[in-house]
Subunit: 136 residues, 2 copies
DNA sequence: CAGTATCCAGCTAGATACTG
DNA sequence: CAGTATCTAGCTGGATACTG
């Protein structure tokens, strides 16, 4: 326990919490979906203008997401001010989600991460192959 | 299943695997430890020159890490070519770990992430507080 | 349409004990 | 010193069923 008081990354630290948000799989994908064109291939680029999306639209767009994870992710993003949630009192109700400036900023960050990863991918892959040969 | 073939972020994609590496808690902390001075407060900065460290030194430096996680993290980093592992055949053996250029590059990336997170922290915290008041 | 509620399988990581 | 091996509690996330 006495060791635990030294770190700046662990649980309590706000910056750590934000890292958790940044690095969540569905967060990345939801943000991408909010900027995608209709092409269904949104993982890589998705640098389009963030227009509002309906829940069902996101659900259909995102490959393999469960309702639970989609809702959970949307709530978390809304709470952090990264997206807005708008309810129109139609019958049945219409709910739309839209990226905020802060959310846009996060997504730009994630895209930066992604391109860094891709830039060094070959290098890492080569290292792994070499290591696995050495070790067997 | 048919939905799963569209994404570029999910399991199979190499860039996704690298993202996992980037965003691992212990990876960040081990890299930081390899660049820390002896101050024991290494979470925040740790922009020092990466000098070799012994296993036991890392274990003592890192707050709350288990042997299992430390070893596991070190192996993963070594496999990816982000650190080197050097064994000197003394009795008992002496093992040292040192950051490679690629590892250094990763750590710079993580530090960038961290400063981004810190820059937007206040904003997010305010949004959370506002949301929690709205909802209760 | 846009969720909520519940259950459960699988993975992760901490604790503990042991070793060349 | 620098690990490996094993067990298990807890969390995460998927499947399923139900609702204003």
């Amino acid at each position: 326990m006495s060791k635990a008081e030294y770190d700046a990354f662990l649980a309590g630290c706000p910056s750590r919490q934000l890292l958790d948000r940044i690095t969540d799989k569905w967060v990345a994908l939801v943000l991408a979906a909010l900027r995608s064109d209709g092409s269904h291939r949104f993982g890589a680029d998705c640098a389009g203008d963030p227009r509002p999306r309906r829940y069902s639209e996101l659900f259909r767009t995102l490959p393999g997401v469960s309702q639970k994870m989609l809702t959970q992710t949307l709530r978390a993003l809304e709470r952090d001010g990264l997206i807005t949630r708008t309810v129109e009192p139609t019958v049945p109700v219409t709910v739309t989600y839209e990226m905020t400036d802060l959310g846009f900023s996060l997504h730009e960050m994630i895209r930066g991460l992604k391109s860094w990863a891709e830039a060094h991918m070959d290098d890492v892959l080569a290292n792994r192959a070499a290591y696995d040969t050495r070790v067997g």
